[in-house]
């Protein structure tokens, strides 16, 4: 166990060193804050430091501040040594990141006891860090495992599916009715296996937080109408009436349309499966103040009350049997719940055995992102605006650096598309000003410049390592991809 001492007074220093060596600690001695900070930056630095408050050049509190700001790992336990008995001063010391303090003149027994407490804390921190590292590693292995396994499963599935469908399609010759019957069953099961693998991968991605929503402006009414049309045939074949109750006109939301589609598809196909001929399915969308409530109701078999809480658990297939022998994956509702929650919503079920079920979920309304387009050429601003389509983004414009900074402060846009050559203040200065102001330093910036951009300088400007740079002429797709990526919530 090693301890760092930073103390400018020789006598106190020797006293401390002696007392700690006696207790079996290995001691590194320094005479001021600068020296102490140098030692602490070494890879194998002591994890406990006793710092005198008052020292020339860099004092103990400054060392504490530096350690907390710049040295995250491994953990360093800091004890301030102070002649100040004032409670206010002590509070200041603890606020800067010290763990403990000892007032001078100190009692050696007390100091040794406090060092012991500190060592216990260091041990705990180290084992915590070890555990976190192990967990992260395990999590990575799990994700890798699932993605490798699902790939390894998909290849043979693809071969089976391709082969069976060649035979079924008569490509390799005529087949008998019995053969067709058996092969159709085989095909159904291959499809089920495919759904299972895809579902597993989806669930693992949701659990790992690896799904990024790609939100875009979407008309929910049109989308639901589309999905309903898609299922209409299937429902009618089963003798079920499918209808929608939607608000009039257009209901624009900023959501990931693929994911919302997946949610509705899942709930509607479930409803069709568990509803008998003569039944009805209603898909309803209703706009509320800060969210949109959607529901899929059926007049099907319903779910027993005791089973409702289990519904959203993995691999649970409540005894809702539809008679067709079709088996789901037991993952659909888990995925649906994950996707709803990613959209800041909730999902729940109202159901009565024999009467039917209603699956209801909300989607949080999030503001459409605003993009500030900065360029001194009106033509370019117009092109960018056209590419970004007014429907999906709230577009602001600025034709000079000063105006850009002003508008950024006022409107706090989700993204700034910045030209570097501006008449009044160049792009570098705009970035510098934006980064200096805490109201604007979190706004992502996308550089769009016809001239060569000094990357070094941009990286140097505080906190700007990740500014993507696009050239002119503008490639619409590249621009759109970058913008979509950067404004993601």
């Amino acid at each position: 166990m090693r301890i760092l001492i930073a103390e400018d007074d020789r006598i106190t220093r020797q006293l401390l060193e002696k007392a700690l060596v006696k207790r079996g600690y290995e001691v590194v001695v320094t005479c001021d804050g600068n020296e102490a900070w140098d030692v602490l930056q070494c890879p194998d630095a002591p994890q406990l430091a006793i710092l005198d408050w008052m020292m020339p050049d860099m004092d103990g509190v400054e060392v504490c501040t530096k350690v907390r700001a710049e040295k995250k790992e491994p953990y360093t336990y800091l004890i301030l040594l102070t002649a100040k008995g004032n409670k206010e001063d002590i509070a200041v010391g603890l606020d800067t990141g010290a763990n403990d303090y000892v007032t001078k003149p100190f009692n050696l027994r007390e100091l040794q006891a406090r060092v012991k407490v500190g060592m216990r804390m260091v041990d705990l921190q180290n084992s915590l860090a070890d555990h976190v590292k192990k967990l992260q590693e395990l999590d990575r292995l799990k994700s890798d495992f699932i993605s490798i396994v699902s790939h390894e499963l998909r290849t043979p599935i693809a071969v089976m599916k391709g082969g069976v469908s060649l035979i079924l399609d008569g490509v390799v010759g005529e087949i008998t009715e019995n053969q067709r019957d058996l092969l159709t069953d085989t095909m159904d099961n291959i499809d089920r296996l495919t759904r299972l693998v895809t579902g597993l991968l989806d669930v693992s991605k949701i659990e790992a937080g690896k799904i990024n929503l790609r939100r875009r402006s979407t008309d929910l009414c049109a989308m639901v109408e589309n999905i309903a049309n898609h299922f209409d045939c299937e429902a009618r074949d089963k003798g079920i009436q499918l209808r929608t109750e939607l608000p009039d006109g257009v209901l624009k939301l900023f959501v990931d349309d693929d994911k919302i589609n997946q949610i509705f598809n899942n709930l509607i196909s479930n409803a069709i499966r568990f509803t008998r001929s003569g039944g009805e399915i209603v898909i309803c969308v209703e706009e509320k103040e800060d969210n949109v409530e959607c529901s899929v109701s059926d007049t099907g078999v319903g779910i027993a009350e005791k089973n409702i809480p289990k519904l959203f658990n993995k691999f649970v297939q409540i005894g809702r049997v539809d008679g067709s022998g079709y088996k789901g994956t037991g993952l659909g509702l888990v995925i649906v719940k994950g996707l709803v929650e990613m959209h800041g919503g909730k999902i729940w079920v109202e159901s009565e055995l024999g009467k039917g079920s209603t699956f209801r979920f909300t989607l949080k309304k999030v503001p459409f992102p605003s993009v500030l387009v900065v360029d001194d050429e009106k033509k370019i601003v117009d092109i960018v605006k056209r590419f970004l389509s007014v429907d999906d983004y709230l577009l602001l414009e600025a034709y000079g650096g000063i105006e850009a900074v002003k508008k950024a402060k006022m409107a706090h846009p989700s993204l700034i598309v910045l030209d570097m050559l501006l008449p009044d203040m160049d792009g570098y200065e705009v970035i510098e000003q934006l980064k200096r102001d805490e109201n604007t330093n979190d706004i992502p910036i996308l550089i769009l410049s016809g001239a060569k951009v000094d990357k070094e300088r941009i990286v140097q400007l505080n906190d700007c390592i990740n500014i993507p740079i696009l050239g002119k002429p503008i490639h619409p797709e590249e621009l759109l991809n970058n913008v979509q990526e950067m404004v993601n919530y």
């Binding site: 998909r154 290849t155 599916k161 391709g162 082969g163 469908s165 060649l166």
Partner: protein
């Protein structure tokens, strides 16, 4: 096809069984097939044979499908040939890389044969409509 010269499709795929299935499916539709079993062989075949369309797997020996696609799309002489990427991996991620690499379509391997055939027809005959 209409009795004219059959369109030639190059398949780059290292899984022998899947290669066979794809070949049979395509030939049953009247296409002529050229086969390659690894990335480099595939790229050479594109340059030499100038097929009407390329279908490529992503994970391949010697050179992966994404790279083949990028090299095709960078080459003035062959960049007009439509490329379909077939994958069995994590579909979202591959789809994105394929799109960035200039692939004309991206399809999961477990998708229905009809869908694949539709995409092929669309890509082969889009120029004639335009």
């Amino acid at each position: 096809m209409n009795g004219s010269i059959p369109k030639r499709i190059l398949i780059i795929e290292d899984n022998e069984a899947f290669l066979k299935i794809l070949k049979m499916r395509l030939e049953s539709r009247g296409y002529e097939t050229i086969l390659a079993r690894d990335g480099l062989e595939g790229l050479n075949a594109v340059r030499k044979e100038k097929p009407d369309l390329v279908i490529s797997d992503i994970m391949l020996p010697t050179m992966d499908g994404h790279k083949i696609c990028r090299l095709i799309k960078l080459d003035r002489n062959i960049r007009h040939i439509p490329v379909i990427m077939l994958s069995s991996r994590d579909l979202d991620k591959d789809a994105e890389i394929a799109k960035k690499g200039g692939a004309d379509a991206f399809i999961g391997k477990t998708i229905r044969a009809e869908v694949i055939m539709d995409v092929i027809t669309k890509l082969l005959y889009k120029d004639q409509r335009a």
